[in-house]
Amino acid sequence: MPPLRRGGLAVVLALVLPVTLALGWEVAVDTGAASGRLLPPPSRIGATLADLAASGDLLTHVAATLVRVGLGFLCGAAAGILAGAAVAMLPAVRRLIDPSLQALRAVPSLAWVPLFILWFGILETPKILLIAVGVFFPVYVGVSGAIASVDRKLVEVGRVYRLSRLALARRILLPAVLPATLVGLRTGLGLGFLFVVAAELMGASEGLGYLLVDGQQFGKPDQILAAIIAFALVGKLADTVLVALTRPLTRWQDTVRESL
């Protein structure tokens, strides 16, 4: 079978179960066999989503969430890259801070929530900080591991051909660590979305997480599900954008993948 048709078939097969369940539930609620009070049928979730979008509320909430994730991601990623590079390149720094960071990494990040609220109140600061903490660790581990495992021989070839220190860093170390760094950034972004939910659950007046809390408090399961769907779409979109932005940097890997 040609690959395209097989891929198409795989998509169809993957959709069979969710579509059947959704249609079944729709019919069940429609015919009155189920009330649909706790689990609204797809049509009602769609309508809620459409209402939110039409009133502009959806955009407000999505924007609020994206700003938090964006700021947290930038802070966490920058700190992760700096700390990872320092730890990998300076043995003294590694001995000094790596054990502590590894210990902190073992703390489930949500355990920080009460402390952050005590310290910073419930406004934006603790939210962004929590997201930054979530983003920091995968980036830190990715960057420090990538630098530490750069093949010594690659650097030696650079020395044989007398690349300057700057050229060595830019032309050899940077491209060598880029793929693992990007994996760290992607994982970090995923965790950023995980943590923004926690951050917004701790008290917010806007954001997709606020929609979740609000939906729970006022018994609006359709709003909860609409927010969940929005989360999934926004998260996937952000990941796609990150990959697209960084693609030119690792274009050479495409030819590796093609030949696999």
Partner: protein, 266 residues
Amino acid sequence: MVAATLERPLPRAADREAGARLSVEGVSHAFAIRGAALPVLDRIGLAVEPGGFVALLGPSGCGKSTMLRLVAGLEPPDAGRIAVDGARVAGPDPARLLVFQDPTLYPWRTVRGNVALGLEARGVGRERAARADAALRLVGLDGFAEVYPHQLSGGMAQRAALARALVNEPRLLLLDEPLGKLDALTRLAMQAEILRLWQEKRFTALLVTHDVEEALVLAERVIVLSDRPAAIRADIPVDRPYPRHRDDPNLVRLRREILGILGQPT
């Protein structure tokens, strides 16, 4: 085609000035492994005329690669003096290039980008691509300039590494088992190619190998090293015209002699 180029006579002495004169005097070197000193080189003395081709043979782990790294200027020797054209070696230099045991190409650069590395470092701008392509032609890789290293075979990668050195027109080429990982046929073709390039470019060549036959087919002199710490056990001139044939009785005799020195049954 390879055979035809091999029929050329030995370059005359006057032609060989492109190569550098290498002199190694009383060089000893040790590594520190867990606080203990591991002596690797033991008072090595060696002189190579400009344009000469010398092979280093020795048991695995005896210090051959270390020797080349010192000559390349990647590390300073603990004791002794290494000089090229009378000037003490103080660091890497594009006139004195080491081709590593592995091709060690940069996977994110095309073959052309890899070959152009040395030119780039020296700030050669406009003619960079043209010179890289010319070097690739020299090693029979024309048409592969745009390709990435993982798309090359082992032999082709090794040739690309050779081109990366040759494009800089080195006066001393240090070859660390450049053919060690190739299959027998590719190996023979590459030996002929190295010989052709040496005859054409007249650089001085120092080749590390553990293949006695390879040393005898290529080099004007074969130096046999002892087990670690490496000292020179024998310095054997191979006074035969090129192209050489593996079954030349003189070479067969030398081979038996060298294997005897290395302590192998003949």
